[in-house]
Assembly symmetry: C2
Homo-oligomer: 271 residues x 2
Amino acid sequence: MNSRYKSYVHGRSDREAERLHYQASKLAGLLHHDTCYPEGNRVLEVACGVGAQTTILARNSPGAEIVSIDISEESLARAKLHVSQEGLTNVTFRQADVYHLPFWPETFDHIFVCFLLEHLPDPLLSLKCMKEVLRPGGTIAFIEGDHGSALFYPDSREAHTVIDCLVQLHREIGGNALIGRELWHLMSDAGFMNIAVSPRIVYADGSHPESVEGVKNIFIAMVEGVRGPAIARGLVENETWEKGIRDLYRTTEQDGTFCYTFFKATGNRES
Amino acid sequence: MNSRYKSYVHGRSDREAERLHYQASKLAGLLHHDTCYPEGNRVLEVACGVGAQTTILARNSPGAEIVSIDISEESLARAKLHVSQEGLTNVTFRQADVYHLPFWPETFDHIFVCFLLEHLPDPLLSLKCMKEVLRPGGTIAFIEGDHGSALFYPDSREAHTVIDCLVQLHREIGGNALIGRELWHLMSDAGFMNIAVSPRIVYADGSHPESVEGVKNIFIAMVEGVRGPAIARGLVENETWEKGIRDLYRTTEQDGTFCYTFFKATGNRES
C-alpha cells in the first residue's frame, strides 16, 4: 500500500466524503467555470478521489471522454457510484498511481488535477509524469488551495495555531498545504508553456450566509478533522486547540469575515 | 497640528508621493473600474492626500463635481498641482479633518475614501461623521489594504517579521494595517445599508513582469520605508531586517510569487 494512500491527512470516512462533495458543489462556479473540454477530446483526471470534481467536469464537458484515476480502490468505488447516480456516462475509472501512469505517451488531449499536489512528497515529479501522457500542445490544469491565505476577523493567534497544526501534519506525511503559491514555479520547472495562474478568493461575511456556511462546513470542518493527531503528537495543547476552533467559528458570526484563496494554473505541453 | 497628520506612518517625502502616484496608476483598473459617478452629482473624496486617487476619480466621472479634502495643507498643495497638471477641472480642494467635516448635513450624493481608515485611531467614528454629510440613499465606497493578506513564495519567517514591523508601527500610532477585513463590520456598525465587500487580489509571478515591478515599487518600498523607526524602536534586529527585505525581493525573482489583497466596500445611507 502506497504511503500517500495510507496517510491521506483528512481520512476516508463517510463524513469526509460528504465534506468533499459539499466543497466541490459550493466551489464549482469559482473553480470550474473556465474548464470545458471539446467534444471527442480525451481528458485525464488525476486523483479523482470520491468523484467530487469528476461529476462537475463530466457535466461541463459532456462530449469529452474522461478517464478518472485514483490510487484508492475504495475512493474509486465511491466515485463510480456517485457518477452513475448522477446519470453521467462519459467517465471511465481506473486504479493508478500518478507516479506510474498506465498509459502510452501522449495519450490525452487534456489533464485536470484538483487538490492532489498538496498531498504529494514530490509534486514536481508528478508533473513530469503527467506531461509524458499529454499530447504535444495539450493542456493541463491544476487547482490547489493554500492554507496560508486564510484571513479573518476577528483575528486570533490560536485560530492561526490550529490552522498551522493542519499545515504541519500535512508536512509530516510529506505534503504541503501551502502549495497554491507554488503552482507557478512547479509548472515552469516541469517545462510547461503558456502558464497562467489565477488566484480564486472565497470571501464570506454576514451578507453571504451561504458562503459563511461553506466556511464552517468546508474549512473549519477540515481543521477540526485533525484534532486527534494534532493533540496526540503534541503540536498543540487541548486548551489552545479549543480556543482556536472557537475563534474560527467566531469569524462566522454576524460581524465576522473569512477569506481563503485557491489557485488555478493552466498551461500547455510544447507543440 | 493633529496627531494623525504628524504621524503619517509612511512620511510625506517626494519619494513617498511618487510611490503613491505609481501605486494609484498601477492599481487603477483593479480598484476603480467599478467607481463612476453620474453627471452633476456631488462627490466627497475624503483624505485625498497628494491626489493620487483624485485624478482617477475625476477622469472616471468627468461630469461629477468632486470635493477633495485632506488634513495636510502640504499634501493638498501637491494634489492641486497634480490635478491641474492633468488638465482636470471638476475637482475643488479644501483642508478638513474627517472627524470635523465642514459641510452641512446631507450635502453629498456620494463619498469615496481610499487608504484612510488604516491610519485612523477611531475608524467607526469617522464613518459616522461621513454618514452625516451624505444624503439619504447616497453611496459610500471604501478601499483599504490588509497587510495580513501578503502571501508569497519562497515563504520566509523574516519577510513576515519585517511586514509585522509595519503593522506594529501602524498600531503604535493608532492605526490598523489589517483593516481590509474589517470593512464589513465597520460599515454595518455605522448603519450603512446594502453593504457589499469585494476582495481585490494582486497576484504577481514571472508571467506578469509589470505586476512584479509593482510588488517591488509599491509593497516592498513601503515596508523598506519604515526601516528607521522599526530598528530604532527595537522591533527587529538589523540582521533580521536585512534578511526579511532580501527575502521579499527574492519573491520577485523568476520562480517567485507574491499576492496581496485589497478590499473594496460599498453601501448606502438609508433612504
